[in-house]
Amino acid sequence: MIPAAFDYHRPQGIEDAIAILQKHGDDARVIAGGHSLIPMMKLRMAEVPNLVDLQDIESLKGITIQNGRVNIGAMVTQHELITNEGLAAAAPIMREAALQIADPQVRYMGTIGGNVANGDPGNDMPGLMQCLDATFTLFGPDGARGVKARDFYEGAYMTERDDEEIMTAIHFDASTAGYAYEKQKRKIGDYATAAAAVMLTKDGQTCSSAAIALTNLSDTPIWSQGAGAALIGTDCGPAAIKAAVAAGLDDIDPSEDNRGPIAFKYHAARMMISRAIASAWARA
């Protein structure tokens, strides 16, 4: 439970941080809240000779909501996601999901940037970001670029981000859609056995838009276009939910672990999707 030796860097600006990453290449990695990275280092599953701490970089902090667009700095903690009233009004699903991450101690340290950049299929924020159709800003030696959350994840711990890039912000549209984040977990502090993020809008008694994304049911988060499509134009009644669930299950590829065998994962996914749809519909 003791990590290998490392050098510690604490740059004051984003350019300095990038310079350090460029200098050390593979031998450097940024650290945000450290609550995914440090356990990996202690287990010696990650060896990081140069640790670049982002906490002094002011430009990575803060939540702003302007013209219907939400902008969250990468270093905003999960705790802030819960306590920020503006965010709770603009995207209430953020608070609902953040409250289901780990425990308060972890949330005081863990950041949204770390959670989405990590690439761990167990993290809750990536699926949520896909549901919200968020865009990530990556800043590298060649400047900034935006990548859609729905295009960002390639495999477990593999993302679109280049080694020399830092995620600086996350943005998405404020929304009044009905929402729900349903997560089954074994206990407080546990990653999801299965979780579903659902956002949908209503036109009269008909569903006019729907986005559904799933957590920890494949080696990446799963934005299930089919599941969303199955709801649009329906009354989100039992038949529609059944069709959406079927489409969602088609898109996942869960694996067996201590949370249960594959058949159970499918079952849990079914429950989370259907419950999230029902709850989001009731709020739409």
């Binding site: 439970m1 206990k187 949370r259 058949a263």
Partner: protein, 808 residues
Amino acid sequence: MNDLSPDRAERSAKLKGLGHSRKRVEDQRFTQGRGNYVDDIKMPDMLFGDFVRSPYAHARVKSINIDKAMALPGVIAVLTAKDLEPLSLHWMPTLAGDKQMVLADGKVLFQGQEVAFVIAEDRYINADAIELVEVEYEELPVITDPFKALEPDAVVLREDLAGQTSGAHGERKHHNHIFLWEAGDKEATEQVVETADVVAEEMVYYHRTHPCPLETCGCVASMDKVTGKLTLWGTFQAPHVVRTVASLLSGIEEHNIRVVSPDIGGGFGNKVGVYPGYVCSIVASIVTGKPVKWIEDRMDNLMATAFARDYWMKGKIAATKDGKITGLHCEVTADHGAFDACADPTKFPAGFMNICTGSYDIPVAYLGVDGVYTNKAPGGVAYRCSFRVTEAAYFIERMIEVLAIELNMDAAELRAKNFIRKDQFPYTSAMGWEYDSGDYHTAWDKALTAVGYDVLRAEQAERVEAFKRGETRKLIGIGLSHFTEIVGAGPVKNCDILGMGMFDSCEIRIHPTGSAIARLGTISQGQGHATTFAQILASEIGLPADSITVEEGDTDTAPYGLGTYGSRSTPVAGAAAAMAGRKIRAKAQMIAAYLLEVHDGDLEWDIDRFVVKGAPEQFKTMAEIAYASYNQAIPGVEPGLEAVSYYDPPNMTYPFGAYICVMEIDVDTGTHEIRQFYALDDCGTRINPMIIEGQVHGGLTEALAIAMGQEIAYDEIGNVKTGTLMDFFIPTAWETPTYTTDFTETPSPHHPIGAKGVGESPNVGGVPAFSNAVHDAFRPFGLRQAHMPHDHWRIWKIGNDLGLHDDV
């Protein structure tokens, strides 16, 4: 002198003796971070030791190359079995009469086994050095299933035992077999089972789990080469036994060894045994001449130090048509892992598993336990229990439920029909135990009334109908448990550990100004001994509990005792405290008689003083007597006021209780919610009701963990799948339900103050209550037995197997 105020009630209250909910005196330092745990011990020049552990569950060790590790600056030495062999310390005896490798001798037998011991200047260097030790392994076939281990062509696990057809506990019938231990009357039981009206048969598995104390195991060994004295601080539940074992192993005379248990952050049986870390630290300190510290991390603790349970219990319970039990037959296949390192009294290799007739009057019974080697970590300790009582209680409380199903009878009624009646105590069970006292029917009725049992059953039945109509996906389970424990080991005539009789001890010194220090052979790991033992003494000697210091754990000062586990502290050391207190009082009476110029016999004891019979204004308080004992020349009486008592209990004590758990189960997700948990405990005389309640809450929470998710699981090749707290379930406040505690009070007739012990009851009785609730919820759909832990997917599987889901 003749002032009679304060009155008796006030004087009694001031003592804070028996029955007083005195606040725990320990908590001041614990809640302010001022405890002193073994890892808080820091000494000049102290070195650190840590293990290279086996990644394989079964492999030959072809070679160990330490060159790269030794080249790392700050590394002092790397010990392997070869280094320990000349000292005959590469193996060590276990408490169960087996032996265990200290460091891998030719092969490894479980994942996490100690292979080499690295000694370095600090922990960081140590962690790097461990990675530099190069071990070449050749993998061997792995056995993690005790039934497969006993197949004729199973690979030989313990090559060191080749050709040995008998072990410490008799015949070995197979190369992976350890012992067969039997109790009761096999023939008579089999006959009853064959001819009974009704027989319920079931395999009940109590899965492998782990005590997982908050503080892991560790020690600091310091050999002083000048004085020749070895001091060993560590997480020891039995410091005197450790001293004796250390002396026998090392050849150092026992007076030159001092073993100290500082504050211990939970033990639960995990800290009873002797571990390779202790042996290696001692050797390392002798070799280097410096103090050496070894502290496990969480993964080490979960992977390598003592596990608990892992009992496959095959039961047959026979009864008449109307539900009177006529016989009980139990055959256990016990997975002991790679070495038999159970911590049981020597003559009881399966502990007190033969208490498995439980609270019931069962005329004949048989128990046979086969101990088996597998490629899993050694242990088999009593996790908050008295030597397999948890397994026994779970077994019988499951068998009763299965019998109720077989008879189509209410399980509460079936229990009541078979309880040992109050007038049958002292009661000798079919296995030969003499239950000291009990009143099961009263406790049971009180419990059923408290929860509103009949109303609950009606609600449950309605819910089942609603479920069948598709109106709900939640079921209600009513989990019943009536347990009887056997604790307080134990009478020296049949209980010993490595030949040491399981008595315990207390020594009291009264100071001139009316305060006192008491030292005992036990050691608190959170039970609150400093609080409760002072209360026992306050009532015995009439000095306020607040004026009595209780000290334990230092073998240089405490009298010899067998330590704390198996709920033995109050039954045995608590009794020693009372008896030592009575010796103090006897001498005090002589002193008081002298001071009051009357005969001893003219005095009577009254709370905190001796009073001349018939003349209440004529008295001497204990404080006055204490002073006199130091400053008066009393003819025929030695100065001072001290006493020591070594107490050999005449019998065990038999606490019991009635627990009821009401659980809502979501059939779709396999999640549960505990709506109500009622726990009635009868632990005899109640010393401190608040501490009892705290112990019950803690024990129930551990029981919840075990029943609902906690396990040590292995894959087929022997990898531990549950090596961190992400996967090994420890409930937080969030998962922990609200408990309602209650009591009846049936004193033990043979214990000086009638106390029986309570710390382990909630674990023993709680697990069957939680598990029975799960079973009970599915009983209307045909469930008989589903193995623990009842985590989400396993509950889902119950529903799935019963066809309660529509997605399959």
